[in-house]
């Protein structure tokens, strides 16, 4: 999904009606938003955070210092590690990290749904769609989290719903 399309999705899920136009910059097609009030903004997470504030949903950026830092950390993770170089091995490493991180968490910050969940969900969607049943079981915590996020109202929109099987088939896997 191109960054511009992703930002449009985000706008909708945030309930923003205006509909910005985005241009893309350089070979990595980094999104640029030309704002009315000031200079343009460049970069997926920068623009996303800007939109959240515009929608007056600042809580999506975290409420405590710790939460805010954690949200930004995962946004950075999204643009550096998920979007970076995505060989199969890289993605497997990402899933493995996330899987152990999410072991005791509902959302990326722990108990609160934030922008980090939304953007990581969008970023991972194209990989999760392709996972086999066995792989989904292997990354059980990621699957649980992903399934939960795609059912959050207004997030998934036109993206395909990924099916997760409730009963474990490969009890001996891992």
């Amino acid at each position: 999904m191109a960054a511009a399309a992703e930002l449009t999705l985000l706008e909708k899920s945030l309930g923003l009606s205006k509909g910005n136009k985005y241009s893309a910059q350089g070979e990595r097609q980094i999104p640029v938003l030309q704002t009315n009030s000031g200079p343009s903004l460049t970069g997926l997470t920068t623009i996303a955070a800007h939109l959240v504030k515009q929608a007056n949903k600042d809580y999506l950026l975290g409420s405590t210092a710790e939460e805010k830092a954690v949200v930004q950390q995962w946004l950075e993770y999204r643009v550096t590690r998920v979007d970076g170089h995505c060989s199969k091995d890289d993605i497997r490493a990402v899933l493995k990290d996330l899987n152990s991180y999410l072991e005791d968490k509902v959302y990326l910050t722990g108990y609160n749904f934030t922008l980090a969940d939304i953007l990581l969900y969008y970023g991972l969607h194209r990989f999760i769609v392709d996972l086999t049943v066995q792989e989904k079981e292997k990354y059980l915590n990621v699957s649980r989290w992903f399934c939960h996020i795609q059912h959050c109202p207004g997030i998934r929109q036109h993206l395909s719903s990924v099916v997760f099987i409730k009963n474990r088939l490969y009890t001996n896997s891992q």
Binding site: R28, I30, P39, L41, T42, G43, L44, T45, T46, A49, H50, A65, E66, K68, A69, V70, Q72, Q73, E76, Y77, V79, T80, G84, H85, A93, K96, D97, L98, S100, Y101, E103, G110
Partner: protein, 900 residues
């Protein structure tokens, strides 16, 4: 919150600068980890720095850590700042890591390095000049400035990588670099060594991904050596050529050693061993031996060094021991003080003075500190409930009570502390208390006691720690323990006891009480110094000039890090307080604990009887020093390390180098004509030597020993590749080459002998005698590798340094120390007091263990448990039965073990 850093990790720069800027530095507990250590449990790759928050969560992104510090101070980030941070992560970092990799790891220069980052640098410059604002996100400094400055500093601090034409970038960089938080961060991370300080970290990191695929090389892997720059080689060669003349003059030996103004005055103490116990290997490595290595190193650096220790002699344990052996407490102390002194002499511990705490000086200084504390209102009086054993007719000291820990339920918690959870315990809180001597249940009685008002002193201690900790070499565990004590809140601590054997309390109504050992044991360092010189106050009331290093195991940290500093600060007499508190973790024995009562493990006096030389013990104990984490003594591993590292690596190299000189050159060091290969080796040796210095300056004793072995490995490889034994029979050129290789090798051996001196003093002296190393070169360790054995120097007779340890020998030692030496300690006891065979309490304890173990075995059999598991438990039972038989004085059946 705890910050994990790694030596030379570039991310530490922005993180420390941001912490400084947001004034969060004091809240940070800093731990250093290795470059390949995975700190974050959920990440599969190593990452440093990492911040562990008090909630337990981790921040592993450098920017997120910096952001967090700023957020804590209430500084939010605007869109522009966010944009810079995103750009830093996605654009700048990949370019920068490539440039740094070229520069630091591959030794490239100029455009090779600048090329990858040029566009990024121009982008910053343009943004700054277009907006004509001094900072990245506007008129005032923001998080973006700190994060980008930190990322760029390693590269841009070298003016050749800060292009002249980028004026706006130039002035922005200068402005930030001159700020105090940035300056401090730069000094801490780069240590004034420039970008090379990043090498230990960067060379352990995978290649930046942007390089992958490009650097496919078919060259054979040369060796795991770092790439050297021309400059490094030139500097190393110049130092080598200067030779021993460049050594500073030798410090004259002084007696007594006193601090000298303008010099580095190093006062080293090792935790005072308790007199009535024979120290085990864990005690020895934990304090006296570790401190000895540092003291010897400090002297090699020509620092003005005083190393002190002594036996801690007061307290109930001594009284009990005296009763047991039918002697007076003083006689017990006299007897055991000598045993201790002998053990440390055998281990070659280089104390300037080994004293004791039962001296008039101890009484005088303790009472003086007490009077000053009393006069200043830091002493409280209160009634204490204490455990009293009616059967033994005395109050029980903490160490004589055992019971169930009220916090974690551990069954063998001591009266003062639980070994399992580490919490401090008030003896009367123990569940199911037992007198350790007679096993009867003690009763609670009350008695008047004096308390040190720690809560009132807490603020001073905290203020002192805040000044002392940053930039000091306190070990991470020492910092952690001290911090957690302060965090949990200080409570008044009782400083008196109902005993006779101790320092008398100079206060009406307390005539029949003495000071509790932990109040006056730490004062022992002062009184021992006072027994060494009447000018002791020059060391102990001189915080400006004296650097105090205190060595101990981690259980001693609270007394040295909190309690004694509280007394000293409260006494208001300008006492010298600890500058560097060096605490080890625990050393285990094989898979369990050392245990005197069960006779498991090797004790100081027995090490001598094994026939293994003291230096081998020193080497192995230092090699496994519990630095940063617990470690374990293992006989098999000791055999392996001796035979591989000492015999095959170090011994083999030194011996070959010397033998070539004797055999091929008649004992005279040959002429050396250095080729570029030789120069590179010389540079590698110099770099490793510098690494050794860096580590020992930070008291990383175990790690520095690795550097010694690395150099000798380089040496072996060098000889192996150049084959002087073949070339010596060749033509003129070959013979000259053989001479150069031999000459360089023997000089490396000479350097190794000095580097080895803190670790293996006897072996070091042997090598130096064999090589006839001139005296100043033996006693000074310079920071670069010098040619100390010039051509024409005559060496002495060369002989092998180490002996192979054989399997059978080790097996039998393993057997002997696995609990069997109860026999020996019993024999000792029998000698001391002929009428008692074995202590009845020991026999009783063993009987209980046999019974317990019997139950375990029966249970397992009933459950039809795994065969091997049963067999192991049965073996344990048989062993216990054997011990019991021995303790009861019954004859043993024929031992099954192989003989030979």
């Amino acid at each position: 919150m705890r910050l994990f850093v790694s030596e030379g990790a570039p991310g530490s720069l922005p993180v420390l600068a941001a912490a400084g800027r947001a004034q969060r530095r004091a809240e940070l507990l800093i731990s250093t980890v290795g470059p390949e250590e995975c700190v974050v449990p959920f990440l599969t790759w190593p990452k440093a720095p990492v911040l562990q928050l008090d909630s337990g969560n981790y921040l592993f992104s450098t920017s997120a850590i910096c952001r967090y510090f700023f957020l804590l101070s209430g500084w939010e980030q605007d869109d522009l700042t966010n944009q810079w941070l995103e750009w830093e992560a996605t654009e700048l970092q990949p370019a920068l890591s490539t440039a740094l990799y070229y520069l630091v790891v591959q030794g490239k220069k100029g455009e090779d390095v600048l090329g990858p980052v040029r566009r990024a640098l121009m982008h910053i410059d343009h943004s700054l000049s277009r907006r004509s604002s001094p900072f990245l996100a506007g008129e005032t400094e923001s998080l973006a400035d700190i994060v980008l400055w930190g990322a760029l500093y390693p590269l841009l601090q070298d003016p050749s990588y800060l292009p002249e034409e980028l004026g706006a970038l130039h002035s922005w960089f200068q402005t930030l670099s001159s700020q105090e938080p940035c300056q401090r961060a730069a000094e801490t991370v780069l240590k004034r060594q420039g970008v090379l300080a990043l090498r230990p970290y960067l060379q352990k990191q995978p290649q930046p991904s942007s390089l992958e695929g490009r650097v496919v090389s078919n060259e054979p892997e040369e060796e795991e050596l770092a790439t050297l720059s021309e400059e490094e080689i030139a500097v190393a060669v110049a130092a080598w050529e200067k030779g021993p003349e460049s050594l500073p003059p030798l410090r004259p030996q002084q007696n007594p050693v006193l601090p000298v103004a303008g010099e580095r005055n190093v006062l080293i103490t090792s935790a005072l061993p308790y007199v009535n116990n024979v120290p085990h290997l864990g005690n020895i490595i934990g304090c006296v031996l570790s401190a000895d290595v540092f003291a010897r190193y400090s002297r090699l650096r020509q620092w003005n060094t005083l190393y002190l220790c002594g036996t801690d002699e007061y307290g109930t344990a001594t009284e009990t021991k005296a009763l047991e052996e039918g002697l007076t407490p003083q006689e017990i102390c006299d007897k055991y003080h000598i045993i201790h002194a002998d053990i440390y002499r055998w281990f070659n511990i280089s104390f300037d003075f080994f004293g004791r705490t039962t001296t008039p000086q101890q009484t005088k200084i303790t009472q003086d500190i007490f009077q000053r504390l009393l006069a200043r209102g830091f002493v409280l009086q209160d009634t204490v409930e204490q455990l009293r054993c009616e059967h033994c007719a005395r109050f029980l000291a903490d160490r004589f009570v055992e019971g169930v820990c009220p916090f974690c339920g551990y069954e063998e918690a001591r009266g003062d502390q639980c070994d399992k959870c580490g919490k401090l315990i008030n003896a009367i809180e123990l569940k199911k208390p037992q007198c350790k001597v007679c096993r009867s249940c003690p009763v609670v009685r009350s008695s008047q006691h004096l308390f040190l008002d720690l809560p009132k002193l807490g603020a001073r201690v905290e203020e002192w720690l805040e000044r002392t900790l940053p930039g000091s070499d306190w070990t991470p565990n020492a910092r952690f323990i001290t911090r957690s004590w302060l965090r949990d809140g200080l409570k008044p601590r009782c400083i008196t006891r109902d005993l006779k054997w101790g320092t008398p309390v100079p206060l009406e109504g307390f005539e029949d009480k003495v000071f509790y050992v932990w109040f006056d044991a730490t004062i022992g360092y002062l009184s021992i110094t006072a027994n060494y010189t009447d000018q002791w106050e020059k060391w102990w009331k001189n915080p400006e000039q004296v650097n105090l290093y205190q060595f101990m195991a981690k259980d001693n940290v609270p007394f040295h890090g909190i309690v004694f500093p509280s007394s000293a600060l409260g006494a208001e007499d300008n006492y010298t307080l600890v500058s560097h508190l060096i605490a080890t973790e625990y050393l285990n024995y094989e898979d369990g604990k050392f245990s005197k009562s069960r006779g498991v493990g090797v004790f100081g006096d027995m090490a001598q009887d094994t026939g293994i030389p003291a230096d081998i013990w020193r080497f192995y104990l230092l090699y496994i020093r519990p630095e940063g984490q617990d470690s374990a003594f293992s006989w098999t591993d000791m055999l392996f390390k001796n035979n591989s590292e000492l015999l095959n690596n170090l011994g083999n190299f030194v011996n070959r180098a010397g033998m070539f000189v004797s055999k091929f050159f008649g004992g005279f060091v040959p002429e050396m004509v250095l080729t570029s290969d030789d120069q590179r080796l010389l540079t590698h040796v110099t770099l490793e030597l510098q690494h050794y210095h860096q580590l020992l300056e930070k008291v990383r004793i175990r790690d520095a020993l690795r550097s010694v072995l690395t150099i000798s490995r380089h040496g072996n490889q060098y000889i192996q590749v150049n084959e002087p034994w073949k070339r010596i029979r060749g033509g003129e050129a070959d013979r000259q080459r053989a001479g150069t290789v031999t000459g360089l090798a023997v000089n490396i051996a000479a350097l190794l002998s000095v580097m080895l001196q803190p670790y293996m003093p006897t072996v070091s002296a042997t090598i130096q005698a064999q090589l006839q190393l001139p005296p100043p070169a033996c006693s000074i360790l310079p920071t670069s590798f010098l040619c100390t054995l010039p051509a024409g120097h005559q060496i002495g007779t060369v002989s092998p340094l180490f002996q192979k340890l054989e399997n059978e020998q080790i097996e039998s030692l393993k057997q002997r120390f696995s609990g069997g030496q109860l026999e020996e300690s019993l024999a000792l006891k029998a000698k001391a007091s002929p009428k008692t065979a074995a202590g009845p309490e020991q026999v009783q304890a063993l009987r209980e263990e046999v019974a317990k173990q019997g139950d375990t075995v029966r249970e397992l059999k009933a459950q039809k448990a795994d065969k091997n598991q049963i067999a192991a438990q049965v073996a344990k039972l048989l062993d216990l039965k054997k011990q019991l038989a021995l303790a009861e004085g019954k004859p043993l059946g024929t031992p099954k073990g192989k003989k030979k």
